[in-house]
Subunit: 327 residues, 2 copies
């Protein structure tokens, strides 16, 4: 990477956004954008590009879910119980990673919507600037041509009114611009953090699933030990669901709660409660709003939980603050 | 979401991967996939779909970088110093988020490559199975037609050889399958975690930039206070670079070091060293390998650092373990 502290300084030659009309395949919106006054045209471009960004993440999310199914089906036809079960469970995790990617795309789209308020205000301020300028020009022209014209008085009055009107418009523009710019990118950064934290939870549980697959080589003729981690694998998915659920519970107030140590302190507390609950009143998981696996009850009976726990003692692979607990 | 503990259980009707030949726009590779024996055809589909996933994330990364430039250029033409500087700096952060998205796509592609080893082994095992079966069938046919045929002896010998050969092939297949399946998805989950942790660092510093934009409304006629956070904004980018750099330094050994508390303990230690360094031998940043902003020296003079720090005392918004320090 060779990027300076300014994006601008890194632009060489004519920047793309300044010649939108020459590009192909324009939507009506972006065509309008290209004929906008300078004032709102650039933001049209940002909003349009962000729409492409949203589509890319949507596509990635859908693709993930397809891969998840294909991987699971591949595993099934290997005829290897261990590969079959682990590939299926990893598929569940991948599918959830995809769902999180789609949620991210949706949140980016919301943040994008906020920028439209700025763009619309820019659009509406332009005529006010033009009107003011037009009257001022006319006054200059008249002063030269017919300095005695009685219209000058009228025009001067109009100019005062136009200036007053424009003063308000410009104040509205700066107020909206700063407020909405912050609002939009705060929402965008919050979306980045939420996707990241949820996907970390999922990926770390995904690794626990892979750890259940014995990949020690067999010699020709020898057969594999029977696969015994079915319960443990189901438990990993339960744990992932619990972690996502307590993450959601402790981030209801969004942005602020996502950052800082307080969130994580709560998080772990919440997580532990949650975990205990798994072994008490969570026989089949139907009792709760599913965060990840809606049909979780279908394949996990409560009787699996204890052996499962015995099978792999549960250590949350998620937030590092769970380590502080033990310190 | 209504997903069960199994992806399979959620498949309704004929699963897509089983009718690939009916889809359009096939690449040569995927066309070969569709005429593969069952054994390797499904994994062809997984590998092909993963290629689409990689492309989506590449596209998202590029789009981010475009948006970054456009946002910066929009801010420049607002004529508002504060909006101009903050939008430019936020652009730098967005651009880096995009670069991380592209790195992620690259890492997914590497993980995808590992699956090809399984696919190729599946392909090579099929003939061995077929050969064995063919000989066995022929023996059955002969036993009925001409039980006395001397060819039977030869065929029995061939069958033993074919069985021995296949025994090896099947052992190779299960060994490769389990080893490479783990390897591929461990790499994939590591990539998810790396993107997530780096993007969290960036997003949290991005928020610090937004905090420097005063969005208190002005009344018509009043003018804004002069923008005074230029140094602070530059410092935020320096801090982001330092955090990414120490993240990279403490994750050289990849996977394992990314998880667990040890990593974070190191991380913070490393981070603090790094931070101190910023104020000692890091006058203009040329001394170090740039992690984020290659041209950092161009626009930040060492003399900016101290006032900048005075301006906003630096508190790393990144890993929560920085809070543990204070506990």
């Amino acid at each position: 990477m060779n990027r300076s502290l300014s994006i601008r300084s890194s632009k060489g030659g004519p920047p793309g956004p300044q010649t939108p009309a020459r590009k192909k395949g324009f939507s009506f919106a972006s065509l309008r954008g290209s004929i906008q006054p300078e004032l709102s045209r650039r933001l049209y471009q940002v909003i349009k590009s962000t729409n492409n960004l949203v589509s890319s993440h949507e596509a990635a999310g859908r693709e993930r879910e397809t891969i998840a199914k294909q991987l699971s089906e591949w595993g099934e036809q290997t005829g290897d119980d261990a590969v079959s079960d682990i590939s299926d469970k990893v598929g569940v995790v991948l599918s959830e990673l995809g769902a999180q990617e789609e949620t991210y795309a949706h949140n980016l789209d919301e943040a994008r919507g906020v920028l439209k308020t700025i763009r619309n205000t820019e659009k509406s301020v332009q005529p006010s600037r033009d009107a003011k300028g037009k009257i001022a020009d006319e006054i200059q022209r008249l002063k030269l041509k017919e300095p005695q014209s009685t219209r000058l008085v009228i025009l001067e009055q109009e100019l005062v009114r136009a200036e007053a009107e424009n003063l308000v418009a410009e104040a509205q523009l700066t107020n909206i611009t700063r407020k909405k710019l912050k609002e939009s990118y705060e929402a965008e950064f919050a979306a980045v953090i939420e996707r990241a934290e949820k996907q970390i939870i999922l990926a770390k549980h995904g690794r626990r699933l892979l750890d259940l697959l014995d990949d020690s080589p067999v010699t020709p003729g020898d057969s594999r030990h029977a696969y015994e981690h079915g319960n443990a694998a189901r438990q990993v998915l339960n744990d992932a669901e619990d972690d996502l659920k307590s993450y959601a519970e402790h981030n209801v107030d969004g942005v602020d709660s996502i950052i800082g140590g307080d969130r994580d302190a709560e998080y772990v507390a919440g997580h532990n409660d949650n975990y205990t609950r798994t072994y008490t009143d969570n026989g089949d998981g139907r009792g709760e709003t599913p965060v990840m696996t809606g049909g979780i009850g279908q394949s996990v009976g409560g009787d699996h939980h204890v052996p499962a726990a015995a099978d792999v003692p549960y250590v949350s692979p998620t937030p590092t603050s769970s380590n502080d607990d033990r310190m």
